[in-house]
Structures are given as C-alpha cells and as structure tokens.
C-alpha cells in the first residue's frame, strides 16, 4: 500500500539553520528551462510542509522565449506570505547555466554550489539537520548514489550512463527502493535525473518497476506532472 510517511522527517536534536532564530535563509537557484530539476519540486514541497517558505520564479531575458507557461510560475507564494513572516525564501531563476542548476545562499561566504544533486543535499540538511551524523553508513550510501547520478548520468558519456542504469537495476533487484524499504533522497534525485537524461524511456525490468513505484508514491506527486 502507498504510504504517506516522509523519508526526510525531522527526528533529531541538531537544530536546523532555520530554527536558530537567525535571519531568513535566502536560497537563489538558477536552472536551465530545458532540464527541469524535478527533485527541487519534491524537496521544496517538503520544506513548505515544515516551514514558512516564500517562493518566487523569474525568467532571465536570455531564455525568455523558451520558457513554457507551466514553468514561468513554477514556484510561487501567490502573495499569501509576507517576506517578514518567512523563514526561508526560494527564488528560482530560469536562465542558461553551465554545469547544471546552481545554488547561492550567502555570496559573501560561499562558492556557487553546482549540480542538482548538491542543491538536493543542501535542502535535505535544512529538513533533516542530523542527516550527516545520525546514520553515517546510510548517509554515505545515499551520497554514493547521488555521485552516480552526477558523475555518470548527468556528466557521463553514453557508455557511462548505461553502466549507471545497470548499477541501479542490480541494486533494485534486492529491494523496492534504492537504499532500503522506503524512499530516500537517493530515490528522489535518481528518479529526477533519469527523467532528464532520457534514461527512463526503455529501462531494464527492475528500474522500470521502481519508476512505476515512484510515479504512484505521494512524495513524487508535485513533480510527476512535469515529466514529459
């Protein structure tokens, strides 16, 4: 039976950066409209369940002719939330970006974070502040799958992409979800990346079964509509 439990539930004693009474966190994410970071929709949905999130979407002039209507307002708060009441703001900017979607939180302190997998890692750390310390083995296994997504599926050649799909297929022969009996961040990101890299069209049996499972699971519903 489909379950509605969240795999990214807060269950820790480590305070989230959002709960330390600091100033609002300001996430600015730039993404290319030709490759919609579907995992962002799922994770942003999770963030909204937990926090007051101010959302906005902008279209840069460089891509203004190529952004379909359903992406123009992808993230929006519809004026329902005042900036002063928000704990976190997510601003999505559609533009041409090299090396995947980019995230900037604090330009005075950080390097631009590149890649959908790394944006997903950051939002997960907001949702689940103890993710790095609670279960070290599990966290590292999830990261290994996210590295597979970034280095082989996103950046790899055809041969590497195919090898990555075979790895996933072998993994899914043992269990329903990539890291066990319930969906984790690895499932959200790999599902998203497989759709974007065209590897979801004729997958091997176990991957096919898993894709169908994702498609039905409540966690993925906000993103399923954007799968072409």
């Amino acid at each position: 039976a489909a379950t509605t439990t969240t795999p990214l539930g807060a269950s820790s004693t480590v305070a989230s950066p959002l709960e330390q009474g600091q100033v609002m966190l300001d996430l600015v994410i730039s993404a290319d409209p030709s490759s919609v970071p579907l995992s962002l929709l799922v994770l942003c949905g999770q963030l909204c369940e937990r926090y007051a999130v101010l959302k906005a979407t902008y279209v840069h002039s460089s891509v203004s002719d190529s952004v379909p209507d359903n992406l123009r307002g992808l993230l929006s708060s519809n004026g329902g939330l005042k900036r002063s009441d928000a704990q976190v703001a997510i601003t999505l900017v559609w533009k041409k970006v090299v090396n995947g979607p980019q995230l900037m939180v604090d330009p005075t302190k950080q390097t631009t974070i590149m890649g959908e997998v790394n944006i997903a890692r950051y939002i997960t750390r907001l949702l689940q502040p103890a993710v790095d310390s609670e279960d070290v083995v599990k966290a590292t296994q999830v990261d290994e799958l996210l590295d597979l997504a970034q280095l082989q599926l996103v950046s790899g050649n055809a041969k590497e992409k195919a090898a990555a799909v075979r790895t996933l297929n072998a993994n899914l022969g043992k269990q329903d979800w990539l890291t066990g009996a319930s969906p984790s961040l690895a499932d959200i990101v790999l599902w998203s990346v497989l759709q974007q890299t065209g590897q979801a069209s004729s997958p091997p049996a176990n991957v096919k079964k898993w894709l169908a499972l994702c498609q039905k699971h409540s966690l993925f519903q906000s993103a399923v509509a954007f799968v072409s």
Binding site: P17, K109, T111, I113, G115, R121, Y122, T140, D147, L151
Partner: protein
C-alpha cells in the same frame, strides 16, 4: 572506534591516505595498509570503494576536526568540490576549463571551504597530484598562479609532503613537436 583502510598501490586513493594520516596525527586511530583495492570496510555487509565515499565516511565518523565543514552550507560546498575533483578535474577533456575555474575560486582563498582544511582540499590535491596535465604545466612553469599556490602550500605541510614523497606525482609529459624526430 578503529577504522582500517586498504589502498591499491597502482591507483592509490591518496586523499584517503592523507585523511587517515591527518586523523592519526590528531590522536584518532585510522590505519591504512596496501591491499587489492581502495577499500574501507565498515562491517561484514558494508564497504566503500570510491574515494569520495571513503572520505565522506571518515569525515562523518570523526566530526571533531570539521573535515566535512562546520554547517549545512559548508558541508554542501564540500560535496560540490568532491563532485568537481572526481568529475571535471579528473576528465582529460574538461581539465583545462576546470583548472581555470579552480584558479578563479582560489584567488582570494587559502582553503576551498571556509578557513581551514576540509575533505575538499584533500580531494582536489589528490587529483592534481596524480594528474599528468597538472604536473606538466607545473614543470613547464605555466601553471595557474592561485592553483599553484594552493597546491604548494598544502604540499609544504608535513602530512602532504610525506605522502607526496611516498607516492610521487604523475609523470610529466614532454611537449609535443619540439624535439620530435622529423616525420618522414
């Protein structure tokens, strides 16, 4: 907790060696020995073979030294650099752009993330050290200044210096065309 790592002699995961030595020098016992594969065995069921995974596991298991960064943002910067090191910087075709980008980021900085050593520095040093394109540009005197400063600064520290002495860097490639035999 004692952790044991095996290191492959021909394709050593040098960053794992460095982190093991660094932790040991800080009175945390992480042993490494030569073996068939780069491998950190956690228990009977779980082992990590990829450099990035070994580094992440060590950084998370020994959090007191902040090798994985100090907060959510720094941890994610470390992840960004691990992808960069074992992705673009390790790719022959992307290398040139990658090193140019690295040079820009390092212009105002001593370390890649924050003000102290993290897994990011270990990983990028490993990939540079074992990269013949980097060693060749260094030998030819045309290495980008900020990357050179970063690499030399780390290599001058005892742990990096010891590892560099034990595991020499990639071979320098002669420039093509200069002294080549005439093509008949």
């Amino acid at each position: 907790m004692d952790t044991s790592i095996t290191i492959n002699k021909d394709k050593p995961a040098l960053a794992a060696v460095l982190v093991a030595e660094y932790l040991t020098s800080n009175k945390l016992t992480v042993k490494w020995t030569f073996g068939d594969a780069n491998n950190l065995k956690v228990n009977k069921e779980v082992a990590f073979f990829n450099s990035a995974s070994i580094l992440r596991f060590l950084g998370r298991s020994y959090p007191s030294l902040n090798l994985y960064g100090q907060d959510a943002l720094q941890k994610t910067e470390v992840d960004h650099w691990l992808n960069f090191a074992y992705g673009q910087l390790s790719s022959t075709t992307d290398y040139k752009n990658a090193v140019t980008y690295l040079d820009q980021v390092l212009r105002p900085a001593t370390f890649l993330v924050g003000q102290s050593l993290t897994l990011a520095d270990f990983a990028v040093w490993e990939v540079l050290h074992q990269n013949s394109q980097w060693q060749s540009s260094k030998a030819a005197g045309d290495a980008p200044a900020n990357v050179l400063r970063f690499y030399s600064h780390l290599t001058s520290q005892k742990i990096f210096g010891d590892v560099a002495a034990k595991f020499p860097g990639a071979a320098v490639k002669e420039k093509k065309g200069r002294t080549a035999e005439p093509n008949i």
